[in-house]
Symmetry: C2
Subunit: 536 residues, 2 copies
């Protein structure tokens, strides 16, 4: 538990008390949360009238974090230190009791399992701040955080046992998926449906949500927070009612509260183009606001329905795309990666499900196939499930609970494959050899998709290969989750200008089933030479 709270005795501190802090320094681990709580005014509108921020300093570096009002006269500033050692802070506010307070704390090294926030590496991929690779195998569970406690516990237990390391989830509620109506923290703003006071967030609502974010963090799961969604505006009138001022207050409040959680990603909206009250310029502005207010630069994207957002914008860190077709067959997913030159996560590719609507009736086989299509294109894919009788309990992707589908174990198998890979999986002879990916000369995945070949002649694209390199091969059944080593070794020999074959023309037998793949790993011979010369 890295959550750190100042003891009550220190809650009310004046300028003279600052020196006393040196006596008993708090400590917080790297990428944990240091939280400063101050007492301030309750009268008026603390959300709009009172400002608070703190500057945190270590050596010559300074980082400013904005504070937020947490109700009952409590004002908080949260900070995620990114380096061990001593940190000092000083507050600034427009009330005497919040301004000019200073103190220090110690940051200890990150504990086991804490790798820091996720960022972009190698143009198309992700890693944690400590360098640990992060390969998103996400799921979608829009309103689990707004459900009843028992359901939340079920959801967390399911996630703990699942392969998923990212959850797409909504910040704002949706009719049918929120705490009981008599719960004072049922809604994010004071007022009620179609009668919101957007200048007065309900701290309890957001406090509940951040507990969920913290629970995911303890499970090593990234929280891909969806700030706006187009659902239920008729029932609640939330997104529909917010004007530019309400947007700014809401987004700033959310960022001030949540940014110190290392596992936060910002997803500006789900199906943004279905939120008809907002323009492209509105989204651009809100992106820039998140970028400006988040001291840590958490990942930022937005999710489309029919029209792709302009993911090339500098404030977008990765493309979070809805498009099932793009991972439905070979040669598609790589094109959007080429266009955007950023990591691409196909965050909605339709769901494993039994609904009559086509967005919710993929077979498990097809969903797993789409993951593999994404992987061999150097992109990533996100899971969703809408199985089971919706009148009895909500489907996983709507409200969490238990998973019922057949795809999660296969995605766990995929995750094992990725975790064992020596590097990020990259398309190699992109636009030419559409089923082969990996690291040129070192490691290959060859995926056959819906095809059911009876065998495969050892043959790889030329990039990174040299005559005499030796390889071992394994046959992967991506559906039955088996790995079968192939006897003997393979020795690379040029076949033509673009391909290498095995010197002994060996062929690998395959079981003539769909969803098979090969894993090929170099075991000897010359090392790959860089850079790879391009041939066309």
């Amino acid at each position: 538990m890295t959550y750190c709270q100042i003891p009550p005795a220190l809650l009310v501190i004046g300028a003279v008390a600052a020196a006393a802090l040196a006596i008993r320094l708090m400590s917080v681990e790297q990428w944990g949360i240091y939280e400063l709580t101050l007492n301030g005014p309750k009268e008026g509108n603390p959300f709009t009238e009172v400002t608070l921020a703190a500057t945190f300093a270590q050596d010559s570096r300074t980082i400013q974090a904005k504070g937020f009002y947490d109700g009952e006269g409590a004002y908080k500033v949260r900070f995620m230190p990114d380096r061990p050692g001593r940190w000092a802070y000083r507050t600034a506010g427009n009330r005497r009791e919040l301004d000019g307070l200073s103190g220090q704390f110690d940051c200890t090294p990150a504990s086991a399992g804490n790798h820091g926030p996720v960022g972009v590496v190698g143009t198309y991929h992700f890693a944690h701040a400590d360098g640990a690779p992060y390969r998103p195998i996400g799921t979608t569970c829009y309103c689990w955080a707004h459900s009843q406690p028992a359901q939340r516990e079920r959801t967390l237990a399911t996630l703990r046992a699942s392969p998923f390391n990212k959850v797409r989830m909504c910040v704002l509620p949706k009719k049918g998926y929120r705490p009981a109506a008599d719960d004072p923290s049922a809604y994010p703003f004071q007022g009620g449906p179609h009668n919101w006071d957007f200048t007065r967030p309900v701290p309890g609502y957001f406090r509940q949500l951040e507990k969920r974010i913290g629970e995911l963090r303890e499970l090593g799961i990234e929280a891909d927070l969806i700030l706006y969604h187009p659902y239920d505006h008729e029932a609640l009138g939330l997104e529909e009612g917010m004007d530019a001022a309400a947007d700014s207050l809401y987004v700033s409040y959310v960022v001030a509260r949540f940014a110190a959680y290392r596992n936060v990603w910002w997803s500006l909206a789900n199906e943004y183009d279905f939120i008809t009250v907002k323009t492209q310029a509105d989204w651009d502005r809100l992106f820039r606001l998140v970028q400006a207010e988040d001291p840590y630069g958490h990942l930022r994207s937005i999710h489309n329905a029919r029209e792709l957002y302009s993911y090339w914008q500098p404030w977008v860190t990765h493309a979070s795309i809805q498009n099932g077709s793009a991972v439905g067959d070979f040669g598609r997913a790589v094109l959007l990666r080429d266009a955007y030159r950023k990591p691409v996560i196909y965050d909605e590719v339709k769901y494993e499900g039994d609904l009559p609507r086509r967005w919710g009736n993929l077979s498990a086989e097809e969903l797993v196939h789409r993951f593999w299509q994404g992987i061999i294109a150097g992109t990533y894919v996100t899971h969703g499930e809408v199985l089971g009788p919706p009148k009895i309990r909500p489907a996983w992707t709507a409200g969490g609970g238990e998973l019922r589908g057949q795809s999660p174990p296969r995605l766990a198998f995929l995750r094992q494959v990725l975790d064992a890979a020596p590097a990020a999986v990259e398309p190699i002879d992109k636009w030419q050899d559409l089923r082969t990916a990996g690291e040129p000369g070192e490691y290959y995945l060859v995926y056959f998709g819906h095809q059911s070949p009876g065998g495969w002649s050892f043959e790889l694209p030329y990039q990174g290969l040299a005559e005499g390199m030796t390889f071992r091969a394994e046959v992967l059944d991506t559906w039955n989750m088996t790995v079968e080593p192939v006897d003997g070794t393979f020795t690379a020999k040029p076949l033509n200008a673009y391909r290498f074959k095995d010197a002994a023309d060996r062929k690998i037998p395959l079981p003539a089933r769909p969803y098979m793949a090969l894993r090929i790993t170099r075991i000897g011979g010359p090392a790959p030479s860089a850079p790879v010369v391009f041939r066309d």
Copy 2:
């Protein structure tokens, strides 16, 4: 012939002579070229030391065109009037004899076959300035304009008889494809290989090239001018030698000379990412220079090799992409259109040819297939051919001459199909029904590609359809160039949430050959209602 030259008697005019112009006004047709020729200094470096421009005015509109030095003391300003009626001009220059000259001319309506320059319409498509649709069926003939006269004549005769309405062609020469070395206009700059004076263009070189542009214009063919290419820099040292100042002078000179030709498109480079001496910022700057200096806003793009350019940049009018894979199978080409939200022309998809290299060994069937793949994705494709013994004569795509391939007649057939279409061909249920395109409720092309179905049950995506609409159908053999009407009519009836079928469940027999298509046209029943409601 719309090319208009001021008579020699008017070549040297002073301020007092301006009134005399009213006596015998020149006339030029709309989107033709009005050319003003003035005598000025020969001494020094006229290319760098002398400035000349003219402002052309009609009513309250003014358009400024820059002049250029054409050698032998002649300075020219060219202007393409876009509206009939009287125009007035006034020159500005840094030499007394070029400055402050004014005059008038009359612009007559465009003659038959002159539809004006091509621009973007409907986000993804093109039209001429007079509204006539323009559907690019281009070809690639890099150095035809630099070849010997007899070869140029052969090329023009071939183009005249071809379906092609756009030619990609290089402004700068390439070793082996240029006028004889003893021709003083063999090179674009004074000096010689690896010893160029980039401050002194050779007017004769560019005069030859603009004659070729004019010849294409008379054939109704757009000249997609490639300003830089990565070929032969070792032989000539042209692209390699140009620094930022040389780039600016060259690009400005080309734009000043050629922009008044209504059929000009600007292609900043071919395989731009293979021109290693230039950075992304260089290309961005040259784009902005072309945009600033071209008074008419001709189409602007750049062509990639391995790395797609950032086609979303505001100075790019359309994406000119090299990617054979993107039009190799269903569901790919549309993705880049979605990403860029601009017209996409797959300007290189590999060539019909018999070379061992994979960029030059497509079968004619495959090249035609790629055109159809592009069309049903709402994009466009460009032809290239590298057939025949290269030692005897250059291949078409290198140096022009005769076409030897089997694809051009099939592309003529495709052009007929497009010319007969009532509107631009658009994907309809994009990302879902990947083989059906057209205009919802009115007109459909259903393309089967490499598949060889024996029949097709009448079934269309729901968009734009209403029960009771009636349709006729034709079977198109895109390879054998036949159109076979299907007897009887089809009546739309809902099949499910996403599809309509024929009320009588009629099926259209197909000949179980590849490359078949269907053309389906509404003939009765209710008209399509707009807007189309989205269902997913």
